[in-house]
Symmetry: C2
Subunit: 325 residues, 2 copies
């Protein structure tokens, strides 16, 4: 045995974990459709396939990870409930996952969170706990609830149960469209992208996995370019699901298995979102439009031959009163 | 034989015509998905099924009738092309149908038509011919093109080929969800509703077919209530696909086979449209929201037991820069 302290930590999630997760959550999640669009294909010169996680329960892929995490809790843990801090799709996903397993979810949200998102969490039976709008306040509040109730903390991405759960989307996608040569997923904290990368590279080493990131929140691009983890500071993008830094678990997975990060401008994001709505009649949120925009970017259009390209549509939770056009 | 002149004209379209149409257009149309939504089911206390013709080619059921009409033209007729006047979904549908069969389509549109709709027609290769924004000018211009080019006039609804084509949506729907007890379709000129009524009543006499109409354009409701054809005058509704009067062919079919017309207010239409977008992540146009609103109306909610109710989502062509909320 030669385990020096310098040995990098092993990838904590394997394809086998994702397959197990897929079986475990099969009765709880939707096997979402794959959409295609001839107009978009013509525009990019490739065959594009869209894995519609906007049609997933609670409106985003996040339900996969959340319900996978909750499904692994013991009866004693389930009796004490779950807790997280999030103002995004993870909040709704965990509330619904908790409801699915008959347990309670405390969701810590900043007092500034939109009433729409708050209502969505409460709709699924989640208990919203307000806190000041700082990361420190959110973490402290969640910790206090944990101490008080004994609830299990279910983080949004940096957790092997979550990564394995998110990876089930790509696992399903590659069963539905085995000819995929490239898979593009948006990257924020990296739960979806790392799960996708493990699934795709595990199934066929020839599949290239690309991340899609707003140029205004490009920590993953910087991290991959520099070869070391770069935190996200001062993100500026309408893709509100992609504001966070990569995690301690997700970063090494992405470094190992992701070929490239494609960055897109805010204009490209808004244009892709509007075009996608108009052409496919499917609502996608800005974070998903980042991946669509990447699939339509010059780097992809300029590939030397027509390819089968999969795009993971991460979610469709949009405030319809505040559209970016 | 006892065919007095008073004998009402025979229904000009039969279930057999619809089945033939379905076979004829099968390779050209999408077999659209049926969507369901647990939240909406809970809200109404029924099992709702949505036939997603917003995912049909050219974004609406109209393509079924248009491609069916064009598919029946002789080579000589195809050489001369087709013509219609429409500023709505029939315009795009006929342009794409013509393209599908390698012929030309002249589409007469009022000069006031939105640039978005005009561009969509041109995108499908249609030749847009502008005219003043009156019905008389539209008809004259179409007639002039017909005389000049020998093109075949393909009307938007009052034509047996069109009615049979539109009926294929319900025919497919009842194959996909055989347990349907009620089918609701929006009614404007009545092409979709009459085709739906013939298909549904032909398949099982016990299925109730209901029309859905804006209270601000309720000629079908008035016609059915009074027992004689009442023209639409001064319609006021955001459901721009439902402004027209019933046709000479569609009215007697609707009178014979449709149980009831449900009318809904503008507020109900807008609320249903927004709720449907939010919950299903599927874009529907106001005319489709009329049918959703009808399915959520008191008359349906108050039915004595939970039923299997199908709603035909007619289309998803929306100007995203001008949303009604």
């Amino acid at each position: 045995m030669n385990l020096s302290p310098e040995t990098p930590p092993a990838t904590t999630v394997s394809l086998a974990d994702i397959k197990r997760a897929a079986r475990r959550i099969a009765t709880h999640v939707h096997r979402t459709n794959v959409a295609t669009c001839q107009t978009l294909n013509r525009m990019v010169g490739h065959q594009l396939y869209f894995k519609c996680e906007n049609l997933q329960r609670a409106g985003a892929f996040k339900f996969r990870g959340a319900v996978h995490a909750v499904s692994q809790l013991s009866p004693a843990q389930l009796a004490r409930g779950v807790v997280t801090h999030s103002s995004g799709n993870h909040a709704q996903a965990l509330a619904l996952a908790a409801k699915t397993f008959g347990t309670s979810a405390h969701i810590v949200m900043p007092a500034t969170a939109s009433p729409v998102k708050r209502a969505a969490v409460e709709d699924y039976g989640g208990v919203v706990v307000e806190c000041p709008p700082t990361l420190a306040a959110r973490e402290e509040t969640a910790l206090a609830i944990q101490r008080e109730t004994g609830a299990e903390l279910v983080p949004p991405y940096d957790d092997p149960r979550i990564i394995a759960g998110q990876g089930t989307a790509a696992w399903e996608f590659l069963q539905q469209v085995p000819q995929l040569e490239i898979v593009i997923a948006p990257v924020g904290g990296g739960g979806l992208l790392s799960g996708t990368a493990i699934a795709a590279s595990g199934i066929a080493s020839g599949i290239r996995v690309l991340g899609a990131e707003p140029a205004g929140a490009d920590d993953a691009w910087r991290s991959l370019a520099s070869g070391h983890w770069v935190p996200q500071t001062d993100p500026r993008t309408i893709a509100d699901g992609l504001l966070t830094s990569l995690g301690k678990l997700t970063w090494p997975i992405i470094q190992t298995h992701v070929s490239e990060i494609l960055t897109v401008s805010e204009t490209e994001i808004v244009n892709a979102m509007k075009l996608f709505w108009e052409r496919t009649k499917l609502l996608i949120e800005p974070s998903s439009a980042v991946a669509v925009a990447a699939a339509m970017s010059e780097s992809i259009r300029n590939l030397p031959r027509s390819m089968h390209i999969g795009v993971i549509i991460s979610g469709g939770n949009v405030d319809l009163r505040r559209l970016p056009w």
